[in-house]
Amino acid sequence: MTNRLREQLRPAALALLALTLVAGVLYPAIVTALAQKLFPWQAGGSLLERDGTTVGSALIGQSFGDPGYFWGRPSATAPFPYNGGASGGSNQALSNPAWLNAVKARIAALKRADPENPAPIPIDLVTASASGLDPHISPAAAFYQVGRVARRRGLDAERLRDWVAERIEPRQWGVLGEPRINVLRLNLALDALTQDRSPRIR
């Protein structure tokens, strides 16, 4: 056995070294070079700009608490929601009373912001996502908020609803995933819309 070990130790060390160079240096370097060349925007985080300032990523959600904006999903990242530097979810069990209390508090907050809305609340608006950075809400969750946002911004609710419906991302290839709306992009477009006071909606 010791003979065998003595024989194999050198190739083991050299193989580790050589394969580390190939898989740990060459491979990521080649992928990075090609990625930066072919898809520089995606490789760099799909950053969105407004007036020359980076305002976020098209793929990472943000926390919106102002009733004049569409709200995203609850986020359980620590120490504050939508912390893009520390992703994570609640990991609460459905049998955990703390989870049910958290959901009820979210329901209450939504009702407070829009007391007259009789519609049931879509589940994605009261449950924390896995990453804590979910950039999307369901179309139902956006429609649920249309009345509130329209009132705050002085827009016509029916037309705002149609405007939101145009921004639904469908299932990919018609099959994959769920229909969804990117909250940050929706709110950026909303700001643009109310700034130029589009007659379409006013």
Partner: protein, 583 residues
């Protein structure tokens, strides 16, 4: 459950099956040393490797030499990865200036990645430098996968050989696996992932200026900016799935939009984490000269897997009905995913999350696109049970099939006992030595998993880490050791496992769970290689029939489900009863 959800699952199944034969045949060429096309590109590099490793490096190995080579290589890998984490604060490619990883955590992580477990007690974006992610994590993603595949190929050569002592050469198998299978596939997948939005950069984290500042509810502080963690993620994510490794670049793993930005990437990652393990059954059939044998094993795997997928999908779609009373809409429609969305991403919804959760635990991948801790009680039972079936339902790359072949031998042995004949498999008599090794493989895992779980539940160092009350707390601990003992790596992640107790006990569990199986597998390979191939006689049990598929599934479930049923009854099943009773 929706029609569209079922369609997504069927689409995955079709894509997987379509790839089994071409990829499996290609891998057989790689392991038989035949021309495979890519050798024209990588051939010179391969020969350079062997020159570097020395004249001895290509010599045939008997099983003991093969085992020594595997162990030497893997232990050196553990040492290297441990040291890298301790030294990262002084090394380059560390734009966020993270410091050394705590020793117990670094040891756990080193063993975790080398054993293909990829259990993570750390959060990638706050703990590891870009250099550690590339030189350490990415490298071991390749090498642990290649190790598993090499051991499988050695076993196949043992089964196929006729009175030989040699099982091939570990360095050659390792090199050819990496250069001809894992690297090319990863390169392609990584670039596709980047095109969809997975990040790949050495730049420091980005800063975004919020358009609507928000108040941090816990501190009352007003936040104006958002930090966006970046890094060379795509290159690591590609191999993390292809190699059934599963260790996320970021803490949220494949639920993080920078690792898995949309349903197309999710589709590709689910396919990637299962395709090599599935195709290896075909490789096996080719190498033993009877492809029906491979298809039979794959059929058994896929029957269990598809049952699990649809069960999980049903449980998660049903969700938590108590929310309806509180005024929440949980019904699935074209307007919303519905179901249990706690710990799930809107873009994936229920069907993709259930598909991902079952395939990641049926294979030993362990990456997650949703949080298993927040699954419904029975929805969470499925991934737990899949791991407890010794990671044989596809399983890890290589490790899944060599584990399954141990159960095949057990099934053949049981059938032999029933009819009173010496059991044989593919012309090899299965005798006392092989059965002792099989018994070791089959019993070791439940022993360490249940033993470690019991210990953790008996002392405060174990129970203090539990984050959810009631039976679910037990499920968290059971899940953790089922995951580590079977080298899966996923978690009921509420459990605070970054403590010296969990780090050290977990490290031992992962090490034994990996090499405690590899060594007996190689011993079986060596023993079978030395035997005569006998032609099938009238008493030979055919191992390519639907009857054998049933026998194999029965053996698997008999051992796996019965061993763990008592523990599952105290965890997920008790929680299910508690929730249904409204408590």
């Amino acid at each position: 459950m929706t029609q569209n959800g079922v369609l997504q699952i069927v689409l995955y199944g079709v894509a997987l099956l379509a790839l089994v034969k071409p990829l499996g045949a290609y891998m057989a060429r790689v392991y038989l040393g035949q021309a495979c096309g890519l050798d024209r590109v990588f051939g010179p590099l391969e020969r350079q490797f062997y020159r570097l490793l020395g004249a001895q490096s290509q010599r045939e190995m008997d099983w003991k030499t093969y085992a020594v080579a595997v162990m030497a290589f893997n232990i050196l890998g553990i040492v290297a990865l441990f040291l890298l984490q301790c030294a990262q604060g002084h090394l380059p490619f560390n734009p966020q200036q993270v410091g050394a990883v705590r020793a117990d955590s670094a040891l756990n992580t080193a063993i975790s990645f080398v054993t293909n477990t990829n259990w993570q007690n750390y959060s990638g974006e706050t703990t590891m430098s870009y250099l550690t992610q590339m030189l350490g994590m990415t490298v071991q993603n390749f090498l642990s996968a290649a190790t598993g595949m090499a051991v499988l190929v050695a076993l196949i050569r043992g089964i196929a050989g006729n009175r030989v002592t040699d099982l091939g050469n570990f360095w050659v198998d390792l090199t050819r696996t990496t250069l001809y299978i894992l690297l090319p596939l990863s390169l392609i997948l990584a670039l596709v992932l980047v095109s969809q939005g997975v990040v790949q950069t050495f730049s420091p984290y980005a800063d975004a200026h919020l358009i609507s500042p928000v108040t941090d509810p816990s501190t009352g502080r007003v936040l104006h900016d958002q930090t966006l963690a970046l890094g060379p993620a795509a290159s690591q994510v590609a191999i993390k799935h292809l190699g059934a490794n599963g260790g996320g670049f970021f803490n949220a793993n494949a639920s993080h939009p920078f690792e898995n930005p949309n349903p197309i990437t999710d589709f590709l990652l689910v396919l990637a984490q299962t395709v090599i393990a599935a195709a290896l059954t075909y490789t096996f059939g080719r190498m033993v000269g009877d492809t029906r044998q491979g298809w039979t094993i794959l059929a058994a795997m896929l029957i269990v897997l598809s049952t699990a997928i649809f069960a999980s999908y049903a449980f998660e779609s049903a969700g938590n009905s108590s929310l309806q009373a509180a005024g929440v809409d949980i019904a699935a429609s074209n307007q919303q995913a519905g179901g249990n969305l706690e710990g799930k991403e809107q873009r994936f919804g229920i069907a993709r999350s259930a598909l991902f959760a079952t395939t990641t635990t049926a294979t030993s991948c362990g990456a997650v696109d949703s949080l298993h801790d927040s699954f419904t009680p029975l929805g969470g039972l499925i991934p737990t049970l899949l791991m407890q079936l010794s990671e044989t339902i596809l399983g890890g790359v290589g490790s899944g099939l060599y584990g399954m072949l141990a159960f095949v031998l057990l099934a053949v042995f049981i059938a032999g006992l029933m009819v009173g004949r010496t059991p044989e498999y593919l012309g090899k008599k299965i005798e006392s030595f092989e059965m002792k090794m099989v018994a070791l493989i089959v019993l070791l895992m439940p022993f360490i998993v249940l033993g470690a779980t019991a210990l953790a539940l008996a002392i405060p160092a174990g129970t203090d880490s539990i984050s959810n009350p009631g039976p679910h707390g037990l499920s968290q601990v059971l899940y953790a050791f089922s995951s580590m003992g079977n080298n899966n790596g996923s978690a009921f992640a509420g459990l605070n496992a970054n403590t010296p107790f969990y780090n050290l006990l977990g490290a031992a569990t992962m090490f034994v769970g990996r090499f405690g199986v590899i060594l007996p597998v190689l011993a079986i390979a060596g023993s079978l290689a030395g035997k005569h191939r006998v032609p099938p006689g009238p008493g030979t049990l055919p191992t390519h029939t639907p009857l054998f598929v049933g026998l194999l599934i029965g053996t698997l479930l008999g051992i796996g489900a019965l061993t763990f049923f008592p523990a599952l009854a105290l965890g997920p099943i008790a929680e299910f009863l508690q929730v249904s009773a409204g408590g």
